[in-house]
């Protein structure tokens, strides 16, 4: 007999809640099988077993929170003799409290860093019953339906369950005076949302990546001049030039503006740019700034300020969460020099901008110091090919070096 204990799924994890058992006494398990789903502050994690054998008893009930190291289940390893049927295990209730002291928590290294369990076993075992309509809707909303409580037939998750579970803040339309203190996004939910969307992106979207280096001196000079003559609240951020150039480039190369839907690219007439905003306390959100190509520089600045402020205080509208037709992630100052973005589905491209750094640059045969930025494009190869991506990126680079006429 050996014990299967609550694993540590990261240095900062102290306990976890078994939300679902995927095995029962008598189940045959193999190395790499997912046998339980454990909820941690990072979201629900599928827990694998690294032994081969037969589950003898489950010591923790679904819904119970237990510390790392607590025994969750006992199993007879392959080759061992199975014990005679044990009477119903009465230990279930105490299992959560005692085990840490009594049983030596298995030291971390027990979870040998096995090479990935061979061919990834289909995650089907972890699926709950979700109606087809509910599963599709959940995908649209970036919700993991397998984690929802089902109210349908045989406990299945229905469309209504998915609708009811929609993440905070995506529902309410403009609410009256902000009388109540509104909390920002729930970081736990946020993380789950990001995880789900990004996993889907990497699972479904064949990304291709292109980068180019842009001399930012003209843009910086223009910005300096523009801002010098204005009050602080009218001054522009460099982001405005990025947004403007990207929107104008999308007009010239519309193949990157829109959505991948029903196995085909659906171009969008409007250019709504999602601007990635990192939130204090972790998390990331990319609300849409609408009709970027049609806004004046000053209006664009106002729109950006507004959306950033509301993103941080948690006052975004649902449409802003769903309308973006393209996304920009700009790393800002003192960050990395380039970024390989992950497309936010169902969009088909994301533009990344690294920090501006001073580097040697060759102009007219002479090496001179220049402020350079690396622009990178990640695009969906189902919707476009590298040639189109290259056109967009070079157009963007050109427009960045041709700041607007004052």
């Amino acid at each position: 007999m050996s014990d299967f204990t609550m694993p540590s799924l990261g240095a900062d994890m102290e306990s976890g809640t078994v939300v679902e058992w995927l095995v029962k006494p008598g189940s045959q398990v193999h190395k790499g099988d997912v046998i339980a789903v454990v909820e941690t502050h990072k979201g629900a994690i599928e827990v694998e077993i690294f032994d081969e054998g037969v589950i003898e008893e489950l010591l923790v009930e679904e819904g119970q929170e237990v510390p790392v190291g607590a025994v969750l289940a006992r199993l007879t390893k392959a080759g061992e003799k199975r014990e005679a049927d044990t009477p119903e295990a009465p230990a279930v209730e105490e299992a959560g409290r005692e085990p840490e002291a009594e049983r030596e928590p298995e030291p971390e290294p027990e979870r040998k860093p096995e090479p990935l369990p061979e061919p990834l076993r289909p995650a089907l075992a972890a699926r709950s019953n979700v109606s087809p309509a509910a599963r599709r809707r959940a995908a649209e909303r970036g919700i993991d339906p397998d984690r929802l409580h089902g109210t349908g037939i045989d406990g299945s998750v229905t469309l209504a369950d998915v609708e009811a579970a929609s993440p905070a803040a995506t529902r309410e339309e403009p609410r009256p005076a902000p009388a109540k203190v509104r909390r920002g996004f729930d970081p736990v939910q946020m993380r789950k949302g990001i995880a789900s969307a990004m996993s889907r992106s990497k699972r479904e979207i064949p990304h291709y990546y292109l980068t180019t280096t842009i001399d930012m001196s003209a843009a910086q000079a223009w910005l300096r001049d523009y801002n010098a003559a204005r009050d602080p609240d009218e001054r522009l951020l460099p982001a405005i030039l990025t947004l403007r150039a990207a929107a104008l480039a999308l007009k010239e190369v519309p193949q990157l503006n829109g959505f991948w839907q029903d196995d085909a690219f659906a171009p969008s007439e409007a250019i709504h740019v999602g601007w990635a905003i990192s939130l204090r306390g972790g998390g990331l959100i990319a609300p849409a700034i609408r009709d970027v190509d049609k806004l004046s520089i000053a209006d664009l600045m106002r729109a950006l300020k507004d959306v950033v402020a509301r993103a941080r205080s948690g006052g975004l509208r649902s449409s802003e969460m769903t309308d973006a037709t393209f996304t920009i992630t700009s790393l800002g100052e003192r960050s990395a020099e380039s970024v390989g973005g992950i497309i936010y589905p169902p969009q088909v491209a994301i533009l990344g901008l690294g920090s501006i750094v001073e580097r040697p640059w060759v102009i007219d045969g002479a090496v001179v110091p220049r402020p350079l930025a690396t622009a990178s494009l990640a695009a969906d190869h189902r919707a476009s090919d590298g040639h189109v991506g290259g056109q967009f990126l070079s157009t963007f680079a050109r427009l960045m070096q041709e700041p607007p006429k004052p």
Binding site: S131, P132, A133, T151, G152, I153
Partner: protein, 330 residues
């Protein structure tokens, strides 16, 4: 309209439909077992021989293959025969004629011959006529390309489907349910013809689609009324035409309700309900919010004993229970 609704039985509606046809078209005649002097096994043609004479209301020998074949020949030669087969159980004796001749001749002749034949037959159980007179075989016929299969479930359809069927150049089979013959209802005086192409929503609802036909239609309507008392709005779709199936109406309904129960008095295996369920799975998979369910007859020869017969058929309570389970699971 100043006319008030006419009240009549389904049987009377069938008879009036035949009278209309005989009056309207001299090429039209009726042929079948005991349709003349006896007035029809289910009394549908009662009295017609007095009105139209034995040339046009023709009693035949007990030989389904022969008189259906004669009907096919007459139709090919320009007549508009209405052939009655006493019950669909006996129609198997004429299956070769129906399938190998009626359904195929227009095709094999490259369209040179039309077979504008109508075959009426009684179908279904519920009157303690035992296994050899109680089965529902319309689902089988709906398998055959080249024919149309109708299942009037209302007085109106019983009254007007025949006319449309006779105007169709293809062989049309009309399945009249034996329990419905005594059903009474009002005819809308504003209606004088019906199509034989579309299913009809007999009661709108948003929670679950009850798809059915024939004598299961009144059961579904009763079930829907009872479900309304439980806050469940069931939509009742009357198929009317089993071949070709009106996919558009079926899909439109289920797309809205996202749940579907098919009620079919035929046996479950290989039934018309199976075909509909398969089409829903094919086409509407991502719209479904619950499994497609079927309520069919038990897979036994229909029993004679009343309580066993009743238990072998789809029941109103079964529909109510299934709908509750789908829409409001406990």
């Amino acid at each position: 309209m100043s006319e008030s609704p006419t009240r009549m039985t389904y049987r009377e509606a069938c008879r009036q439909a035949i009278r209309d046809a005989l009056q309207a078209d001299p090429r039209c005649f009726v042929m079948g077992e005991d349709v003349g002097l006896y007035g029809g096994c289910y009394a549908v043609t009662k009295g017609l021989i007095d009105e139209f004479g034995s040339e046009r209301i023709r009693d035949t020998p007990l030989a389904e293959s022969a008189f259906v074949g004669a009907g096919i020949g007459a139709a090919m030669a320009g007549m508009r025969p209405i052939v009655e087969i006493m019950t669909c159980n006996f129609s198997l004796l004429a299956l070769d004629q129906i399938m190998n001749n009626a359904a195929t001749i227009p095709h094999m002749s490259g369209g040179q011959f039309a077979v504008p034949l109508v075959i009426r037959m009684a179908t279904g159980a519920g009157r303690q006529l035992a296994a050899q007179h109680s089965h529902s075989l319309e689902g089988w016929y709906a398998h055959i390309p080249g024919i149309k299969v109708l299942a009037p479930g209302t007085i109106e359809d019983a009254r007007f489907m025949l006319k449309t069927a006779l105007a169709d150049p293809n062989p049309v089979l009309i399945f009249e349910h034996i329990v419905l013959y005594n059903a009474e209802g009002d005819l809308d005086p504003g209606v004088s013809e019906v199509d034989i192409a579309r299913a009809k929503i007999r009661r709108p609802g948003r929670d679950v689609s009850l798809i059915t036909y024939g004598n299961s239609l009144p059961k579904a309507l009763d079930a829907a009324a009872e479900l309304a008392g439980h806050g469940i709005e069931a939509e009742v779709v009357d198929l009317r035409v089993l071949r070709p199936l009106d996919d558009a109406t079926i899909f439109e309904s289920v797309k809205r309700t996202r749940r579907c129960i098919i009620i079919d008095e035929g046996w479950r295996s290989g039934s018309i309900s199976a075909e509909i369920a398969a089409r829903l799975a094919d086409t509407l998979f991502f719209e479904l919010d619950a499994p497609v369910r079927r309520i069919c007859s038990r897979e036994v020869p229909v029993p004679y004993a009343a309580h066993l017969e009743e238990a072998s058929l789809p029941r109103m309570a079964d529909i109510v229970d299934e709908a509750k389970a789908l829409v409001r699971p406990q």
